[in-house]
């Protein structure tokens, strides 16, 4: 059987995940392979993440191609994450794809990582024009499509919500990634300890909350008046109520009829419950992106690359410089205008 369909290789390389995916131009995902760096202690050190990705990239790419029952010659397009992300890590990704593109003469497109999250959600969840809450270790963004761009209606003013939860978990002696462990602990408690609730317009701040939670853990009342589960419960309730309030306000402001929840923190059941509740109240369709596509992965990069390539063609090699601080509202979206 001869393959007529066009194939894209999507490579995600912005932070801890080196993700590769093979998909066709109609959006069918043929394979998805991730190799995620998990530090033994501490957080993500850009240099160590880079070393990890350099060691695993060839195996990961080969595995993705094999799982799709294809060979490297079947690939018609390479898409990669150009930013935002950790500089040294982005550089590794760009290096790999530039080499592949030039050696095999395959067109190359660079993609904004945050937009990838929204586009894969639109593809996989059957939503057309959602208000998106994108929550992960690196980003906390409320975004919707207006005036030909993915505009940012609200975002964190300091650290991302995932970063806050992971950092607290690490201080409390839990291993990275701490999010799922905090979620489990929180389910065991119903005791709320008041914590700072910081909302500025539609923007959020988590550093004060982080400090307060850390102080609770260090206080002499710890394990007397309350335990780790109680702190986990309180910090989740506070942080997620903030996120939900801001999302609800953005929903009322934009009048969108769909809500999309994505990013690594979207896996949290409590957050899902809260966002589903407000969507329902405003008669909006609510969708959470399945974890496979919500966390960092190659498919989201590949699919956004396909959309871009179909409209404006490939990038010149000079235009594939990485951009560690690339805001999503700086990107033009020709495929939606």
């Amino acid at each position: 059987m001869k393959l007529k369909r066009k194939i894209c290789l999507g490579i995600e390389c912005t932070a801890h995940t080196f993700g590769v995916s093979i998909l066709d131009f109609d959006g069918n995902v043929l394979s998805i392979v991730n190799d995620t760096y998990i530090p033994e202690t501490g957080g993500l050190h850009p240099r160590e993440v880079r070393e990890h990705h350099l060691e695993c990239f060839d195996k990961t790419i080969i595995m993705a191609i094999t799982q799709a029952n294809l060979s490297i010659k079947d690939i018609n397009l390479i898409a990669f994450s150009q930013g935002p992300g950790l500089g040294p890590v982005l550089r590794v990704g760009a290096l790999i794809v530039r080499f592949l593109s030039q050696k095999l003469k395959i067109p190359l497109v660079g993609v904004n990582h945050c937009i990838g999250h929204i586009e894969i959600g639109r593809l996989k969840c059957g939503v057309k024009d959602p208000l998106t809450l994108y929550v992960s270790g690196g980003n906390t963004i409320i975004s919707a499509f207006e005036s030909e761009r993915y505009q940012i209606f609200g975002e964190t003013l300091d650290i991302a919500v995932g970063n806050f939860i992971d950092s607290f978990a690490r201080d409390a002696g839990l291993q990275h990634p701490g999010g799922p462990k905090i979620e489990k602990l929180a389910q065991k408690s119903k005791k709320y300890i008041p914590l700072p609730y910081v909302v500025k317009g539609m923007d959020l701040s988590f550093t004060g909350l982080y400090t307060a939670a850390k102080n609770l853990f260090k206080s002499k009342d710890y394990n007397r008046k309350y335990n780790l589960s109680d702190i986990a419960y309180s910090l989740q309730e506070t942080a997620f109520a903030m996120l939900t309030e801001v999302t609800e306000r953005a929903l009322a402001h934009t009048n969108k009829t769909e809500v999309l929840l994505t990013g690594g923190v979207a896996a949290n059941k409590r957050l899902q419950e809260m966002i589903a509740y407000i969507s329902n109240e405003h008669n909006a369709k609510y969708k959470v992106v399945p974890l496979k596509y919500a966390g960092d992965n190659g498919a989201m990069i590949g699919w956004t690359g396909i959309l871009k390539y179909k409209e404006v063609g490939a990038d010149d090699i000079e235009d594939t410089m990485i951009n560690p601080k690339w805001r999503m509202d700086n990107v033009e979206i020709p495929w939606r205008s």
Partner: protein, 223 residues
């Protein structure tokens, strides 16, 4: 909901993110009741605290801001049993819905006025905290009203005043991109006219706040 003998709630006219608005009667006056409704997504303890504090803040702020000649609805009663604010009903349109329907000179005029009023508030150390085009109402005879003071604060800090301006700048950029330049320029003109030379520091600081944001590049975006 607790019973309040003097108020006829009337009918719901708007369901917002935070509150439900009723158009009703208070003695023989037409009133608007802003009811901060319980939010079941968050735990009761947090919900009660947030609703109560915001109702108190909004009530207090509306009253004190009115005293310094900024047009806001007059407050008749704050009912903390129900988390109600009972205020004068203002008939008009949200600026958000009006902005595309009027011509350029009108838009400029409105935003210059808005700039002046924001300067009024800031000169008296009132920070709105949630300046958006949904929170400004325009009446039929072209009067401008500011509403939604639930996140407002009192502050003398340049930083807080700049954040206020930054918030409305951001809303103009994201929601009304095509009118951004003319609207924001007029707003700043009005602000400067009213505030005088002291406003320079506040306006300059907007850039500092933006640069502090996530993923900001040095070269500023154009549109």
């Amino acid at each position: 909901m607790n019973y309040n003998p003097v108020i006829d709630l009337g009918r719901i006219i708007y369901k917002g993110a935070e509150a439900t608005l009723y158009k009703g009667k208070w003695f023989d006056k037409e009133i608007l009741v802003k009811h901060r409704i319980p939010k079941k997504y968050r735990i009761e303890e947090l919900d009660k605290k947030l609703r109560r504090t915001r109702t108190i803040i909004e009530g207090k702020m509306l009253i004190s801001i009115k005293k310094c000649n900024v047009p806001v609805p007059q407050v008749f009663e704050v009912d903390l049993n129900n988390n109600w604010i009972i205020m004068k009903y203002i008939k008009g349109q949200k600026l958000k819905d009006l902005i595309g329907k009027i011509d350029k000179s009108k838009r400029k005029w409105y935003f210059e006025q808005i700039g002046k009023y924001i300067a009024f508030m800031h000169k008296n150390d009132f920070i709105h905290g949630d300046l958006t085009t949904s929170n400004i109402i325009i009446t039929k005879n072209k009067k401008i009203f500011f509403v939604d003071f639930g996140l407002s604060t009192k502050s003398t800090k340049t930083e807080d005043k700049s954040v206020d301006l930054h918030l409305i700048k951001r809303v103009l950029l994201s929601t009304h991109g095509q009118y951004f330049e003319e609207c924001f320029e007029s707003l700043i003109n009005g602000y400067k006219l009213e505030y005088g030379s002291q406003s320079d520091e506040i306006i300059d600081r907007i850039e500092t706040i933006e640069a502090r944001g996530r993923y900001i590049e040095k070269n500023k975006r154009k549109n």
